[in-house]
């Protein structure tokens, strides 16, 4: 019997040691005592598992005003990471609108929320993009073992170690190409996306958004819908290839929002300025980002 227990423990030893390392390093600051700095967490943990990262952060803050969106909103909300604002940035790159609604439902189930700025996006208003990582991240939050043995931790540790050994700068998810080439690739993908069968107008999402609006009205939560700017090149493709659905989308949002505020920034002047964007979707100009941040958080 002793031999069996000894051999079993020996067999499990690597996994047990790994678990102890993760518990000690705590890459996502799950236990609140991560050995990584905030910057390292943002450079490594966030790009590896954005949803989990945001949810862990949310569980450790008492802010009750939220920015919910995808990478575009995250670019704007990144200002909250450094500046002192009342808003918590619950946006994460790659999140579709189905996931954003799940983020909202998760947040209001955790504590009273007073204000939500919610990004709406035509590309994400797509039945095909109904994927949501919230349930999975929730199960990890509820169980320490699931967190410790989550593959995201392994990925983070690997990248941190590899970059330390090679002396490289953190670059998870970075696009390895020049701006012009990447710009053209994005436009081509956007065109293919609307020309192919990948876009299915999300009628089921309307029901979810309506329920969200109703919940906010009942609970007295201030809700703002925001349509963030993308570069004119993208907007033109959308209008050319999927114009009818785009108009329908805007009309539906206006219909759903009820008492909510709808800030439509899709036709801002900045969309004609390529220099203000890092790629056709993401604003990189700091003053514009700050301006948008102020407008959406002050509701004008």
């Amino acid at each position: 019997m002793k031999r069996f227990i000894k051999h079993t423990l020996l067999f499990l030893l690597p996994v047990l040691i790994y678990g102890a390392v993760v518990r000690y390093v705590d890459p996502f600051n799950y236990f609140g005592n991560s050995r990584f700095t905030k910057v390292t967490q943002m450079d490594y943990a966030y790009p590896v598992n954005r949803t989990l990262y945001r949810m862990v952060q949310f569980s450790q803050t008492d802010k009750n005003k939220l920015l919910i969106g995808d990478s575009r909103m995250n670019y704007i909300g990144a200002l909250t990471d450094t500046a002192t604002t009342a808003f918590f940035n619950f946006s994460s790159g790659g999140a579709g609108m189905y996931q954003m609604v799940d983020v909202f439902n998760y947040a209001v189930s955790q504590r009273p929320i007073s204000e939500v700025v919610f990004q709406v996006s035509f590309d994400d208003f797509n039945e095909q993009q109904d994927h949501s990582e919230i349930e999975h991240a929730k199960s990890i939050l509820e169980n320490k073992l699931l967190y410790i043995y989550n593959i995201s931790n392994l990925e983070v540790l690997y990248h941190v170690l590899a970059d330390k050994l090679t002396g490289k700068q953190p670059s998870i998810g970075a696009v390895n190409t020049n701006k012009d080439r990447y710009w053209e690739e994005c436009l081509k993908n956007e065109r293919d996306f609307h020309q192919g069968k990948n876009y299915v107008y999300a009628d089921t999402l309307k029901v979810k958004l309506k329920a969200m609006v109703d919940h906010c009205r009942q609970k007295g939560i201030k809700l703002t819908f925001v349509l963030l700017p993308v570069h004119y090149d993208v907007l033109q493709i959308i209008k050319d290839e999927n114009g009818a659905n785009y108009q329908r989308f805007k009309k539906d949002i206006a219909q759903i929002m009820g008492n909510a505020l709808f800030i439509d920034m899709s036709e801002m002047q900045v969309i004609h300025n390529r220099e203000a964007f890092s790629d056709p979707y993401h604003l990189s100009d700091d003053s514009t980002r700050l301006d948008i941040f102020n407008r959406i958080t002050n509701g004008y």
């Binding site: 019997m1 031999r3 069996f4 051999h7 079993t8 067999f11 499990l12 690597p14 996994v15 994927h131 349930e135 999975h136 199960s139 169980n143 073992l145 699931l146 043995y149 593959i151 392994l154 192919g196 069968k197």
Partner: protein, 480 residues
């Protein structure tokens, strides 16, 4: 409690430690622990249904003793019927009541008579078909004089509810499991190690392969109407592996855990995907269920001793019942019937004893058997005839196929979002098949290369830990 739950990770070492701390000399105390642990294991899901297991246990314990004590064979029968009646009655009510009421209403509805529905909101107790069959075999075997009843009610209750195999088999016979529970068990290092390996293999099949495939299969069958023929075929192919890994994974864990407790359970799967015919396959797939049907239905009906027509009739009856056993739905009944019909030509084939030595011929037979079996799973997995109809129309109608590579890739994306994810899971399936084939052939030189063996099982462990799905998904066969 599910095997693939974190509760079980704590439960198993605790029970294991207590069990061997009690020691092999105190058999009754060990059995009492097994009974308490088994009831806790089952009650974790819903404690209300423990009463059903307790009723079955007490009725069969009592009936077994009465049958044994009654000298006149004719007078034994009422006790047997009480046992059969109570067990089948419970099973019938909880599993089939709504099915038969609905079917009755539908049948009258088809004749133009409207009937008001009177179905009940019944929850199907997990594993009821498994433990009912197990405990039924006890009284039937006593009636036929094959087994002596036990007076030790605790050991008998532990036999009925033995937690590793309680909810999804293997369906054990009293003649095999009960004597093991009544006699002292000694801890055997080698058996415990084999048990540990089976445990790992079972978890690998379940949480790494089956639960990952479940995402694609569920999505595929939900959208069967909109996906094209090739993705539909892919979905049913993935389902074949999901079903196998889910169920055989459970059996591996059950057999492995039992070995760690010094108890031998029956093998339930014997490399079924390497079968050379459907007859061969049904000897390797869910072996304990089909041997149960053979011994308690097929042989009592006359087996193969009353001529070809009667034999064919008996085979069809067994497959129909087997279909119905799998679920209270006509799709399962038809699945059983289809297999019965497909089984007959193989069974009566005059060349069935001629074994081909050609690797190519054997390979083709294996592939053909697998394809045939997989195609019938479309019926097994479909929630209703409408979905099954859509699936079969899709794969039969040639116009549904497109072989233009970009179009096929696009179509496959409707089922599996990422090519890497699909390649990974297919790679793992291939690994499993190679592993099983080599084990089956005795060509896995693990005893010679211990380091290699450790590496393989370490790899399985890491895949379970880092790539496994732990979302409390239950095993497919729980619903049966």
């Amino acid at each position: 409690m599910l095997f693939n739950s974190l509760e079980f990770i704590l439960f198993l070492p605790l029970v294991f430690a207590l069990y061997w701390l009690i020691g092999s000399k105190r058999v009754k105390a060990q059995n009492l622990l097994l009974l308490v642990a088994s009831y806790a294991f089952y009650g974790w899901w819903d404690p209300r249904f423990l009463i059903l297991i307790a009723i079955s246990t007490l009725v069969d314990y009592w009936a077994g003793l009465q049958i044994d004590q009654t000298p006149d064979k004719g007078k034994k029968k009422p006790f047997l019927w009480i046992s059969v009646g109570v067990n089948i009655g419970i099973l019938g009510f909880f599993k089939y009541y709504n099915f038969f009421v609905d079917s009755w209403i539908d049948a009258w509805g088809a004749l133009g008579y409207e009937m008001s529905p009177s179905t009940l909101n019944i929850i199907l107790p997990v594993g009821i078909s498994f433990y009912t069959f197990q405990t039924l075999s006890y009284t039937i075997d006593i009636y036929h004089g094959k087994v002596k009843p036990t007076r030790d009610v605790i050991s008998f209750a532990a036999f009925v509810s033995f937690f590793p195999q309680l909810v999804a088999g293997p369906i054990e016979r009293a003649s095999k499991l009960l004597p093991q529970l009544l006699n002292p068990r000694k801890f055997d290092y080698n058996q415990a190690v084999i048990g540990g390996k089976l445990l790992l293999l079972g978890f690998f099949k379940k949480v790494v392969i089956a639960d990952r495939l479940a995402v694609y299969v569920d999505a595929g069958f939900e959208n069967m109407g909109s996906i094209a023929a090739i993705p539909a075929l892919l979905v049913v192919l993935l389902f074949a592996f999901q079903l196998y890994c889910d169920f055989s994974g459970y059996s591996d864990i059950a057999v492995g855990v039992a070995k760690m407790f010094g108890i031998e359970l029956s093998i339930n799967f014997l490399y079924p995907f390497f079968s050379k015919s459907l007859v061969d396959l049904w000897k390797r797939w869910h072996i304990t269920l089909f041997s149960w049907f053979r011994d308690y239905i097929y042989i009592p009906l006359g087996g193969s001793k009353r001529g070809k027509y009667k034999t064919a009739e008996n085979i069809l009856i067994v497959f129909l019942i087997s279909g119905l056993w799998h679920g209270a739905s006509w799709t399962f009944v038809l699945f059983g019937l289809v297999h019965g019909v497909l089984y007959l030509p193989y069974f009566f084939s005059k060349r069935k004893k001629q074994e081909s030595a050609s690797l190519l011929i054997n390979g083709l037979k294996i592939v053909a058997t697998f394809c045939l079996f997989t195609l019938t799973l479309g019926l097994f997995r479909s929630p209703d005839f409408e979905t099954a109809g859509i699936f079969y129309r899709k794969i039969i109608t040639l116009s549904q196929y497109s072989f233009h590579i970009s179009e096929v890739v696009y179509q496959l994306r409707e089922v599996v979002e990422s090519g890497v994810a699909l390649a990974t899971i297919l790679g793992l399936i291939v690994f499993l098949l190679v592993f099983e084939w080599a084990t089956m052939q005795g060509k896995l030189p693990l005893k010679k290369y211990r380091f290699g063996e450790v590496l393989i099982y370490q790899a399985m462990l890491y895949l379970i830990v880092f790539y496994g799905v732990f979302n409390n998904s239950s095993f497919i066969y729980f619903q049966f």
